[in-house]
C-alpha cells in the first residue's frame, strides 16, 4: 500500500493560500536551503527531535530515555532552570553520531521532549484527517495546502491524496520548490487549484551553489504550469546577500511577468531567524544566521517588482 511521510499538520494556516487552511507538511526535500526554517522537513527518514523546553529533567523522569536507548546515544546534558518552580533540571543530550533514530527513547519520554519526527499515513488516512477541518474551509473560502519538504518527491502518495480531496470538493494548493520531473507535476494538474511556487534565484550557478540544485528545471516547470493554464502564487524568500540584490529581483520580476496571467500573486517572504532554534532539535549544528531585511528594504523590493505590473505582497 502507498504511504506518505509527514512531519506536521497545521490547522489555522492563514498565510498559505486563500481563506483559512490546513497545511499538510510532507517530509523530505531534494534542496538544502541554508535558511530553511523547517530543518526537520529536509530528510526523508524519521528523525529524533528533542525540545529542551519540554524536558522535565532526568530526576523527574528517572532517566527513562537514557535506559531505553540501545545505542547509548543519550547522555546527561546541560541544565536549565524551570520557570515555574525555579528548580534546576538536568536535561539530556543526544549524541547524534550514535543515534540511529529508532525512537525507543521517544516512546519512553512521556513529556514528549523527545519525539520521533515523521509519521506515515495512507492516502485515505490523511484525507480523512484533513476533511475533519472541512467546516472551517467552507466558511472561510479556505482549503488544504500540501507543502513540504518537497511534496512532489512523494508523487504517488500526493496524487492519491489530491484525488481524495478533490472528490470531496476541497480547494487545494500545492506548495512546491518546482524541483521535480514535469511528469510528476503533470499528474497533479487535474486536482490543484493553486500552485505556491518558490523562486529562489534566477542565476542557475548561484542557485546550485547555495541550495544544491540548479534552477533550469524549476523555471521550465513554471512555464509549463502557466501554459497548462494553472494559477501560480510565486513565493520569493528574500535572503540577505543571496538573492536580495536589484539585479536578481529584476530578473525574477521579468520571469514572472513573462508567465503572464498565470501569476496571480507574488509573495516576498523576508528571511527570519525563527527557524534557527529548530536546528538544535534535530542536530548539534546551527545554520548560518543573517540579519532579517529591514521593512524599508522589503518595501523597495516590492515596489521594484510591482513596477513590472505584478501583484506583489510582503508576507
Amino acid at each position: 500500500m502507498i504511504t506518505g511521510r509527514l512531519y506536521d499538520i497545521q490547522g489555522f494556516s492563514v498565510q498559505d493560500g486563500p481563506g483559512i487552511r490546513t497545511t499538510a507538511f510532507l517530509k523530505g526535500c531534494p534542496l538544502r536551503c541554508p535558511w530553511c526554517h523547517s530543518p526537520e522537513s529536509q530528510a526523508f527518514y524519521k528523525q529524533l527531535s528533542w525540545m529542551s523546553m519540554r524536558c522535565l529533567g532526568l530526576d523527574a523522569c528517572r532517566s527513562r530515555c537514557v535506559s531505553a536507548c540501545p545505542k547509548g546515544a543519550i547522555e546527561e546534558g546541560e541544565k536549565r532552570v524551570d520557570v515555574a518552580t525555579g528548580d534546576e533540571l538536568r536535561m539530556v543530550h543526544v549524541k547524534r553520531d550514535l543515534c540511529d533514530n529508532c525512537g525507543a527513547c521517544a516512546d519512553k519520554c512521556y513529556a514528549e521532549a523527545l519525539t520521533l519526527c515523521g509519521k506515515d499515513y495512507t492516502p485515505d488516512e490523511l484525507v480523512a484527517r484533513l476533511l475533519q477541518d472541512k467546516n472551517f474551509f467552507d466558511t472561510s473560502g479556505g482549503g488544504v495546502t500540501i507543502s513540504g519538504g518537497e511534496p512532489l518527491s512523494q508523487i504517488d502518495f500526493v496524487e492519491a491524496v489530491l484525488k481524495g480531496l478533490k472528490e470531496n470538493g476541497i480547494h487545494v494548493a500545492l506548495d512546491t520548490t518546482g524541483f521535480a520531473p514535469w511528469e510528476a507535476l503533470e499528474r497533479t494538474l487535474p486536482y490543484v487549484d493553486l500552485y505556491l511556487y518558490d523562486l529562489k534565484h534566477m542565476d542557475s550557478a548561484k542557485h546550485e551553489a547555495t541550495v544544491g540544485v540548479p534552477n533550469e528545471r524549476i523555471k521550465e516547470n513554471a512555464k509549463l504550469l502557466a501554459e497548462a493554464g494553472k494559477s501560480l502564487q510565486v513565493r520569493i524568500p528574500v535572503i540577505p546577500m543571496f538573492n536580495d540584490d536589484e539585479e536578481n529581483i529584476r530578473a525574477t520580476a521579468e520571469f514572472c511577468a513573462k508567465l503572464g496571467e498565470a501569476v496571480v500573486l507574488v509573495q516576498l517572504l523576508p528571511y527570519h531567524n525563527m527557524g534557527v532554534m529548530k536546528y538544535l532539535r534535530i542536530s548539534d549544528g546551527k545554520p548560518l544566521e543573517a540579519t532579517p531585511p529591514s521593512d524599508e528594504k522589503m518595501e523597495k523590493l516590492r515596489d521594484l517588482m510591482a513596477s513590472y505590473g505584478l501583484n506583489v505582497t510582503i508576507h
Binding site: 497545521q10 490547522g11 489555522f12 490546513t22 523522569c61 512521556y110 477541518d133 472551517f136 472561510s140
Partner: protein, 805 residues
C-alpha cells in the same frame, strides 16, 4: 476599515474620573432601609418593599455632577456603591476592616459611616432575608449532604446575593412612561375594591398598591433630580452649562412619567429606570436587554430631523455608557473572586433579528460599540447577537471592538440561542427577541424573569466534585470551608473496586441526579420565602405579564419564567472519564485501584503515571472521537438532570455552563483528577477542554467542543478563545477571525468571546501594571481591566490555550 473618532473633552474628563476614582461605600441607602425596617416591623411582604422603595425615592440624594448630561446615582459621590442590608449583612462585619486594603476591588469607608453601621448593623443578623432562608432549608440537608463541594449551600448566609439576573421591559419605560402604569395600577385597585376583595384578591390588591407606590415614587425621584438641575442652573455662571442644566431639568420633569420624545430622553429614562431596579434589588446581573432596539429609533429620528449631529449623538452615547460603568457593587471577598474588576453585570445586548427574522442593526448598534472601543471600557459588558444576515460592517465593527477592548462585545449566535429558548417553551417570536443577562444567559427580553444566576453563589454545580463522590463512595476528599470527611453524596462505591467503565458512568450519573435534585429542592425552599419577603414591584411594573396577572415577578407573574443553573468543569470530568476508560479498561496500563491510589495521593509516588497521562494519553479536545465521546455524556447527564427540576414559579430549570472565574476558586478545593490535574489546579474554563490538553490546534479544539448539543443549555454556554495578535493582523485577519467564529456557530456553538492578546503582553502587564492600566481582557462572562484581576485568575488567563499560527 472601522476607526474610532476622537472623544470630546468632557467625555475625556469623565472617563479620567472613572479610571482614577477609588470607589467608596455610600451608606445613604443603608440608612433609609435600616431605619424603615427598624421603625416599621408591622409592615411586611410586598407592601414593605413598596414603602421602602417610596422612602428611597423621596430621600436618596440627587447628585448632579459637573459635565453630566445624564444623571442618577445610588449615592452622593461619583462611583460610590450602595449597601443592601436587607438581603444579608453579617458578611459585611467579617470584612469591615479589610474593604479598603483588600487585593481585589477595594472600597473606602468613612469612619463616621462605619460607626453608624457598627451601631445599627447587628439589627440585620436576624432581620435579613438570609437569616430567614437559613431556617427553611431541610434539616436532612444539613445532616447528610452539606459540605459536599458540589453545591454551595452553607450552614448560614445562604443568600448573600439576591434573586438577580433579569431585565425590565424598557419599551414600556421609553414608549409609554410609567405614568401609564401608575394609572393602570390605580384603576385596577379601584375596580377591585368596587367588586370587593374575594379569594386571592387581598394579595393581588397589595401588589397593585405596591406598584402604585413605586411608580409614583420613581416619578417623584426623577422630578427631584429636575429640581437639583434647576437649583444648580440658578447659580451657574457658565451660560452654556446653565442652558444644559435647564434642558436637563425640563427633561427630568417629563421622562419616566411620560413617553420619551428624543434620544437624550430615552437614554435618561432608561438610566433612571435601571437605577430604580438597582435600588430595589442589587446590581446582580440586572441587565439592560436590547438597548439598541428600544432606544435606536429615537436616535435615528433625531439624526434624521437634524436634532442631533452624529458627533453629539456619539457624545451622549459615551456619557450614557460611562454612567452605566460608574455603577458597582460591594461584594464579599469570596464573591469578588468570581467577578473581579468592579463588575456589576449590567449587560447590554445589541444587534440580532426581529420577531419575523429580519436583521435589526441600526445606528445605535454601532454607536454603543464605538463608545466601548474609544473609551476602552469593559463595563458595561456588551453582547452582540449575530446571525446569517448580520451585515459585514457590523461583523467588522464587532471584531475591531473586541480586539481593542478584550472580549467586548461577546458574540452570541441567534440560531442556537433561539432554539434553546424555544426548547424552554418560549414562543418563536419572543425567543427571537431575546437578550443576554448577566454574563451570557439568553432570556426573552422584557417578559421573562430570567433568574439565570440563581441566588448568587448557590447556582453552581461543580461537576468534578460530584465525580469525586462517584469514585469515592460519596466522600469528596477536597478541603474547603465547610468540608467534611463524612459521606455527603450517595454510596456508589470506590473506583478501586470498579470493574467496568459502565460502573463508573452509572456512579457519576447517580451523583449528578442526586445533587441536582438537592439543588432544586433548596433553591425552591428559598424562592418561596423570597417571594414572601422580597417581591420586586419595580421590576413587575414593566415586566410583561405581571400587571396583567396581578402577580409580582417573584410570584410567577411574568409571561415567562426561568430558573437557571450553571455547571463548572465539563472538560475535567469528560477527560477524566476518557482517561479512566483509556488506561484502566481499554489499554489496561494501570488498574482502577492504582489510579485511585495515585489520585488520593495527588500523584505522589505515581510521577511516571502522571507524566504518561499528561504526555502520552489522548485527551478530550483534540477531535479524537474516542477521547471526546464522554463530553456528550457529561454535558447531557447534567443538563437532563437539572432541567428535570421544576421551579417555585412553575418553570423547568435550565442548564448552563459558564464559570466566571470560579473555575479557579473551586479548582483550589478540588482533589487531583484522572485527567492529570493536580490538587488545587484550576478547573477547565467554560465548555473548553482542560487547559493545555488541546494540543492539535484550534480546529481540533473547536470541533471537540462542538460534540454536545448546546441548545440544551438554555441558561447559556461560554467559550473563550484567545488569539495571538500576529494571527489576525489587518482587514484580512479580521475576516479570518470571523470565519473561525462562524464555523463554530454554524457547527452548533452558542457564544464566543475573544481575546486578541499575546501571553507575553499579559506577563508584561502582570509585572508592570502601571503601564497597562487600560488593557482590557475577557475573563469569563465579563471583561475587566487585567491589572485589577487577582493573580491566580491572571495566571489562568495566561494559561488558556493561545490559538495562533
Amino acid at each position: 476599515m472601522y476607526q474610532n473618532a476622537p472623544i470630546s473633552d468632557r467625555v475625556a474628563y469623565i472617563r479620567a474620573m472613572y479610571r482614577n476614582k477609588k470607589p467608596k461605600i455610600d451608606i445613604c441607602r443603608y440608612k433609609i432601609v435600616t431605619e424603615y425596617y427598624m421603625n416599621n416591623p408591622q409592615v411586611t411582604g410586598i407592601l414593605r418593599r413598596g414603602r421602602v422603595m417610596r422612602e428611597l425615592f423621596e430621600k436618596m440624594p440627587t447628585p448632579v455632577h459637573d459635565h453630566e448630561l445624564i444623571v442618577g446615582h445610588p449615592g452622593v459621590e461619583y462611583r460610590s456603591s450602595a449597601l443592601y442590608p436587607e438581603h444579608s449583612f453579617y458578611w459585611f462585619f467579617d470584612e469591615i476592616d479589610t474593604f479598603a486594603t483588600r487585593d481585589t476591588d477595594p472600597y473606602d469607608l468613612d469612619p463616621e459611616d462605619r460607626k453608624y453601621i457598627e451601631e445599627t448593623g447587628r439589627f440585620w443578623d436576624k432581620n435579613c432575608t438570609c437569616a430567614a432562608i437559613d431556617e427553611v432549608y431541610p434539616d436532612e440537608y444539613r445532616e447528610h449532604v452539606m459540605g459536599n463541594g458540589v453545591l454551595n449551600f452553607l450552614p448560614v448566609n445562604n443568600c448573600q446575593h439576591p434573586m438577580g439576573h433579569y431585565c425590565g421591559n424598557f419599551w414600556t419605560v421609553v414608549d409609554k412612561g410609567l405614568g401609564s402604569v401608575l394609572q393602570e395600577a390605580r384603576e385596577k385597585k379601584a375596580a377591585m375594591l368596587e367588586k370587593g376583595l374575594g379569594g386571592e384578591d387581598g394579595k393581588t390588591y397589595q401588589f397593585y398598591r405596591a406598584i402604585e407606590l413605586v411608580t409614583e415614587g420613581l416619578i417623584i425621584y426623577t422630578k427631584r433630580y429636575a429640581k437639583e438641575c434647576l437649583r444648580q442652573a440658578e447659580t451657574c455662571t457658565d451660560e452654556k452649562r446653565k442652558a444644559e442644566l435647564l434642558d436637563m431639568a425640563d427633561r427630568l420633569d417629563r421622562v419616566i412619567e411620560k413617553p420619551c420624545e428624543s434620544y437624550h430622553d430615552a437614554l435618561q429614562a432608561c438610566f433612571m429606570y435601571q437605577l430604580a431596579l438597582l435600588l430595589e434589588s442589587q446590581p446582580h446581573g440586572i441587565s439592560y436587554g436590547r438597548l439598541d432596539q428600544y432606544c435606536g429609533k429615537y436616535l435615528e429620528a433625531d439624526l434624521a430631523s437634524g436634532k442631533l449631529t452624529v458627533e453629539q449623538a456619539q457624545e451622549l452615547t459615551d456619557m450614557f455608557i460611562l454612567k452605566v460603568a460608574e455603577i458597582n457593587k460591594v461584594w464579599s471577598e469570596r464573591a469578588t473572586k468570581s467577578g473581579p474588576g468592579y463588575t456589576a453585570g449590567q449587560l447590554i445586548t445589541l444587534g440580532g433579528i426581529d420577531k419575523d427574522g429580519n436583521d435589526v442593526t441600526n445606528a445605535m448598534t454601532y454607536m454603543v460599540m464605538q463608545s466601548s472601543a474609544r473609551l476602552k471600557l469593559h463595563n458595561p459588558p456588551l453582547a452582540l447577537r449575530v446571525h446569517a444576515g448580520t451585515p459585514d460592517e457590523l461583523w467588522e465593527a464587532g471584531i475591531e471592538t473586541t480586539k481593542q477592548v478584550g472580549g467586548v462585545p461577546c458574540f452570541e449566535w441567534d440560531d442556537v440561542a433561539i432554539e434553546a429558548l424555544v426548547r424552554r417553551g418560549i414562543a418563536l417570536e419572543d425567543a427571537r427577541n431575546y437578550c443576554l443577562i448577566g454574563c451570557v444567559e439568553p432570556c426573552s427580553c422584557g417578559n421573562d424573569l430570567a433568574d439565570s444566576g440563581g441566588d448568587g453563589h448557590d447556582s453552581y454545580t461543580i461537576l468534578p466534585a460530584a465525580f469525586w463522590c462517584a469514585i469515592n463512595n460519596g466522600v469528596n476528599p477536597g478541603k474547603f470551608p465547610g468540608s467534611t470527611d463524612k459521606p455527603t453524596g450517595l454510596p456508589t462505591g470506590y473506583l478501586k473496586d470498579m470493574t467496568s467503565m459502565q460502573q463508573v458512568l452509572d456512579a457519576y450519573k447517580a451523583q449528578i441526579e442526586y445533587f441536582t435534585k438537592w439543588q432544586v429542592s433548596l433553591v425552591n425552599c428559598y424562592e418561596h420565602l423570597y417571594a414572601e419577603m422580597m417581591p420586586l414591584p419595580m421590576l413587575s411594573a414593566t415586566l410583561t405579564g405581571c400587571m396583567e396577572s396581578g402577580k409580582d415577578a417573584t410570584w410567577g407573574g411574568a409571561k415567562y419564567n426561568n430558573c437557571g443553573n450553571t455547571s463548572i468543569g465539563h472538560g475535567n470530568v469528560a477527560d477524566s472519564l476518557n482517561i479512566i476508560d483509556q488506561i484502566c479498561f481499554r489499554n489496561k496500563i494501570v488498574t482502577p485501584a492504582e489510579l485511585y491510589d495515585a489520585l488520593i495521593n495527588n500523584w505522589e509516588g505515581y510521577e511516571d503515571l502522571h507524566q504518561y497521562i499528561v504526555g502520552k494519553c489522548v485527551h478530550f479536545g483534540n477531535n479524537d472521537p474516542e477521547a471526546d465521546k464522554y463530553l456528550k455524556f457529561v454535558a447531557d447527564t447534567y443538563s437532563e438532570s437539572i432541567t428535570r427540576g421544576v421551579s417555585a414559579r412553575g418553570c423547568h430549570w435550565t442548564a448552563g455552563c459558564w464559570p466566571v472565574t470560579l473555575n479557579v476558586v473551586y479548582g483550589g478545593w478540588c482533589a487531583a483528577t484522572p485527567d492529570g490535574r493536580k490538587y488545587g489546579a484550576p478547573l477547565s474554563d467554560g465548555i473548553s477542554p482542560v487547559q493545555s490538553m488541546d494540543k492539535n490546534g484550534p480546529f481540533a479544539t473547536i470541533n471537540s467542543i462542538l460534540k454536545f448539543d448546546q441548545s440544551n443549555y438554555a441558561n447559556g454556554t461560554l467559550c473563550n478563545m484567545k488569539f495571538h495578535p500576529t494571527a489576525l493582523q489587518g482587514a484580512e485577519g479580521a475576516k479570518k477571525l470571523r470565519a473561525v467564529m462562524e464555523t463554530y456557530f454554524r457547527g452548533g456553538g452558542m457564544e464566543l468571546q475573544i481575546n486578541v492578546v499575546s501571553a507575553e503582553t499579559l506577563r508584561a502587564a502582570q509585572k508592570n501594571p502601571k503601564e497597562y492600566q487600560d488593557l482590557v481582557v475577557r475573563i469569563a462572562g465579563f471583561s475587566a481591566y487585567f491589572v485589577e484581576v487577582y493573580k491566580a485568575a491572571q495566571d489562568d488567563l495566561i494559561r488558556r490555550t493561545e490559538l495562533s499560527v
